[in-house]
C-alpha cells in the first residue's frame, strides 16, 4: 500500500464515520430534551415510589414495596385503575371509529373541501383544555345547550342534565383525542393510491368488500398507532374526567393529584404514577406486536 493509498483510506474512513454519526447528531437536540425532561423525572419518580411516607413530611427516604402493596390492595386504587382503563379503552375505541370515518370522508371528498375539514379538526387543538371544559359546562347541564336543543326539537319533554356523568367524561375525552386520531389516520390514508379502490370495484368488489379487503389491511397499522396515541392521552389526562364526570369517578390521574397535593404523600403518588406508566408502556408494546411488520406496504 502506497502512502497515497493509505492517506485515502484514512480519509474515506473519516467520511464513513461522519456519515454514521449524522443521524445521531440530528437526533441529539430531541434526545437531550427527552432525557432531561422525561427520562430524569421518570427515574426520580421511580426512586420516589420506593420511599416511605411518615408523618407530615412529603417523604422519608427508604426502600420498600409498601406503596405498591397499597396500590394493589386498596379497593380505591384498584378500582381507579379499572375505571381509568375502561374509560380510556372506551374513549379510544370511540375516537378511533369517529376519527376513521371523518378521515375517510376528508380523504374521499374532493380537495376543495379538504382545507375546511382540516381547519375544523384543528380547532380543538387551538383551545386549551380548560376552555374546552368550560364549553362543556355550557353544553351538558339542565339549562345547557344540549338540553335546550333536545327539548325544543321535541325529542324529549323534560329538561335533562348530562353534567357530571360518566358519559360526559367519556364525550369530553373523545373530543380531546379526536384531532390526533384524525390527523394520524388522514396521513395514512393519503399514502394510499385511490385508484386502488377503483381497481377493486372494477374487479367486482362491493364498497363493503373494498373496505374489508383493501382499506382495512392498509390502514391497520395507522389505526393501531392512532388507538395507542388516544389511549396514552386518555389514560393520563386528569382535568377533563374530573371536571365533567361524577364525584365518584376516580381516575388514576385524579388520585395521583389527590395523594400528591391533597395528602402530601409523594411516594404513594409516585407508585400510582409508575403503574400508569407501565400500563401505557404495556399497551404500546401490545399494539406494536399487533402491527404488520412488513415495511413494503406502499408501492
Amino acid at each position: 500500500m502506497t502512502g497515497e493509498d493509505r492517506a485515502f483510506t484514512v480519509a474515506r474512513a473519516a467520511v464513513i464515520r461522519r456519515k454514521r454519526a449524522a443521524p445521531w447528531l440530528l437526533m441529539l437536540p430531541a434526545l437531550i430534551i427527552v432525557l432531561i425532561f422525561f427520562g430524569l423525572p421518570t427515574l426520580y419518580m421511580a426512586r420516589m415510589s420506593f420511599n416511605l411516607s411518615e408523618g407530615s413530611k412529603l417523604f422519608t427516604p427508604g426502600l420498600s414495596w409498601a406503596n405498591y402493596q397499597t396500590v394493589f390492595s386498596n379497593e380505591v386504587f384498584v378500582g381507579a385503575i379499572w375505571t381509568t382503563l375502561q374509560l380510556a379503552l372506551m374513549a379510544s375505541a370511540a375516537t378511533l371509529v369517529i376519527g376513521y370515518l371523518f378521515a375517510l370522508l376528508v380523504w374521499l371528498k374532493p380537495a376543495k373541501w379538504r382545507l375546511i375539514f382540516i381547519g375544523l379538526a384543528l380547532c380543538p387543538l387551538l383551545i386549551s383544555e380548560i376552555a374546552i371544559i368550560f364549553g362543556w359546562w355550557m353544553f351538558f347541564p339542565k339549562n345547557g345547550l344540549l338540553s335546550f336543543a333536545l327539548t325544543s326539537s321535541g325529542l324529549i319533554s323534560d329538561k335533562i342534565s348530562l353534567m357530571y356523568t360518566e358519559f360526559a367524561a367519556f364525550v369530553g375525552l373523545v373530543y380531546l383525542t379526536l384531532p390526533f386520531c384524525f390527523f394520524i389516520l388522514l396521513s395514512i390514508l393519503d399514502g394510499i393510491d385511490k385508484r386502488m379502490l377503483e381497481a377493486a370495484a372494477d374487479l367486482g368488489a362491493s364498497p363493503l368488500t373494498i373496505f374489508r379487503e383493501v382499506l382495512l389491511p392498509l390502514t391497520r397499522n395507522g389505526m393501531l398507532v392512532a388507538f395507542s396515541q388516544c389511549f396514552i392521552f386518555t389514560m393520563g389526562t386528569y382535568a377533563t374526567p374530573s371536571a365533567l364526570g361524577p364525584d365518584t369517578l376516580w381516575t388514576m390521574g385524579f388520585l395521583v393529584q389527590e395523594q400528591m397535593l391533597g395528602r402530601n404523600n409523594w411516594p404513594l403518588a409516585s407508585a400510582l404514577s409508575m403503574v400508569l406508566v407501565v400500563l401505557v408502556a404495556v399497551m404500546m408494546v401490545f399494539t406494536r406486536a399487533l402491527a404488520t411488520r412488513r415495511a413494503t406496504l406502499h408501492v
Binding site: 393510491d193 385508484r195 381497481a199 372494477d202 374487479l203 367486482g204 362491493s206 364498497p207 406502499h298 408501492v299
Partner: protein, 347 residues
C-alpha cells in the same frame, strides 16, 4: 348483425360549464382494439372512466354486449381497467392480486388457481406468484395489473395510459407485448393514450379526440394518410408547418419574401402548408421535385440513424430528416423539395 362488445351513444359528461365528454358515440366490436388518442384534457380518460363506472354520465347510453349498464355501479360492470399507476394491492401477493377479481366473481378455488397460473404465464411472470408488488419493477407491476384484468375475462378491457409512467425502452417492449396478447387472446379493448406511436402500433382503430369530442375515428393507416382536418394531421406524426401567404410573390405571412414554388394551382391568400419532415428532400435530390423552397440551415441535430436539419426561410422554420452523413452545415443555403402528395394545405 353481431352485438358490439361496447356501444356508446351520445355520451355526455359535464362538470359545471366544462364539457368533458361531448356527445361521444363509439362502437367497439368483439375482439377490436380501439384507441382513444388526444392531448390532455381532450376527454379520453373521462370517457374511459364513464365506461368503467368511476364517474356518472349526464346523457347518452353505454351498452356492454348489448345490455345497458350506465346505471350500474363499477363493481357490477363487466369491465376491467389497467391503471396508469397499476393500482396493485400492495398487501397482497402477485397471485392474490390476480386472483382478486376471480374471488369477487365467486369462481371456484381450483379454477381460480388454474387461471392465476395461466395468466401469470401469459404475462411471463410465472416465478413471481409469491412476491409482493413492492418487490417488482415498474414493468413487472404493469404486467401483473394486466394479468389481474385479463384473468376475469371481462367483456371489455379498459387501458388508462398504462405505459406512460414507464421509461421508453420498457414502454416499447410492453407495447409489443400487449399487441401480441391481443392477437393471441382477441380481447375487446379501449386504450387511452396521448402517445400516437402507441395508438398507431396497437390499434384496430384510432379515435382522435379533442375538447371532449371525437374528431376522426378510423384505422391507423387512414388516420395517418387521410386526416380529415388540420388538428388530426398535426396530432398524428411529426410535421412542419409553413404559414405562408400565397400569391405571385409568396411571403412568410409577415411579409418576408420567400423563394417558394408549388405545383398546381393554389388560390392566393394565407395558407398553412404541412409536410412530414421525413418526406423532405434537399440539395441535389430536391432539384427535380415539383415543390421547392430555398432555406438556410440553422443547425444540425445528430439523431443516430439520421441527421435532423433545422432550416429557416425568412420567418418560416422547418426541419428535415436526412439519413446518412451530414451533407450540409449551419449557414448553407439549400433547396428543399417535396412531392405534392406529401403536403397538405389548410387555410
Amino acid at each position: 348483425m353481431t352485438i358490439a362488445a361496447l356501444d356508446l351513444q351520445n355520451v355526455r359528461r359535464t362538470y359545471g360549464r366544462v364539457v368533458a365528454v361531448d356527445n361521444v358515440s363509439l362502437t367497439v366490436a368483439k375482439g377490436e382494439f380501439v384507441t382513444l388518442l388526444g392531448p390532455s384534457g381532450s376527454g379520453k380518460t373521462s370517457t374511459l372512466r364513464l365506461v368503467g363506472g368511476f364517474d356518472q354520465l349526464n346523457g347518452g347510453s353505454i351498452r356492454i354486449n348489448g345490455e345497458r349498464i350506465d346505471h350500474l355501479p363499477a363493481y357490477q360492470r363487466d369491465t376491467a381497467t389497467i391503471f396508469q399507476s397499476g393500482a396493485l394491492f400492495p398487501h397482497k401477493t402477485v397471485a392474490e392480486n390476480v386472483a382478486f377479481g376471480l374471488r369477487m366473481r365467486k369462481v371456484d378455488a381450483s379454477e381460480t388457481a388454474d387461471r392465476v397460473k395461466q395468466y401469470l404465464g401469459i404475462v411471463r411472470l410465472s416465478g413471481f406468484a409469491d412476491r409482493f408488488p413492492a418487490q417488482l419493477s415498474g414493468g413487472q407491476k404493469q404486467r401483473v395489473a394486466l394479468a389481474r384484468s385479463l384473468a376475469v375475462r371481462p367483456a371489455i378491457l379498459l387501458f388508462d395510459e398504462p405505459l406512460s409512467a414507464l421509461d421508453l425502452s420498457l414502454r416499447l417492449q410492453l407495447r409489443a407485448e400487449i399487441k401480441n396478447l391481443h392477437d393471441q387472446l382477441q380481447f375487446s379493448a379501449i386504450y387511452v393514450t396521448h402517445d400516437q406511436g402507441e395508438a398507431m402500433a396497437m390499434s384496430s382503430r384510432v379515435a382522435v379526440m379533442r375538447n371532449g369530442a371525437i374528431e376522426q375515428i378510423d384505422t391507423p393507416e387512414n388516420i395517418f394518410h387521410q386526416p380529415i382536418n388540420e388538428f388530426v394531421y398535426t396530432f398524428i406524426g411529426e410535421s412542419c408547418c409553413l404559414a405562408v401567404r400565397l400569391g405571385p410573390q409568396p411571403t412568410d405571412g409577415a411579409g418576408g419574401r420567400i423563394d417558394l414554388s408549388l405545383q398546381g394551382d393554389h388560390a392566393p391568400g394565407d395558407a398553412r402548408l404541412y409536410i412530414r419532415p421525413s418526406r423532405l428532400r434537399f440539395g441535389p435530390d430536391a432539384a427535380d421535385l415539383p415543390n421547392r423552397l430555398k432555406a438556410r440551415v440553422e443547425f444540425v441535430e445528430f439523431l443516430g440513424d439520421m441527421n435532423r436539419y433545422h432550416l429557416r426561410a425568412a420567418g418560416l422554420e422547418l426541419f428535415a430528416d436526412h439519413a446518412g452523413a451530414a451533407v450540409h452545415r449551419a449557414g448553407d443555403v439549400v433547396d428543399v423539395g417535396w412531392q405534392s402528395q406529401d403536403m397538405r394545405v389548410f387555410r
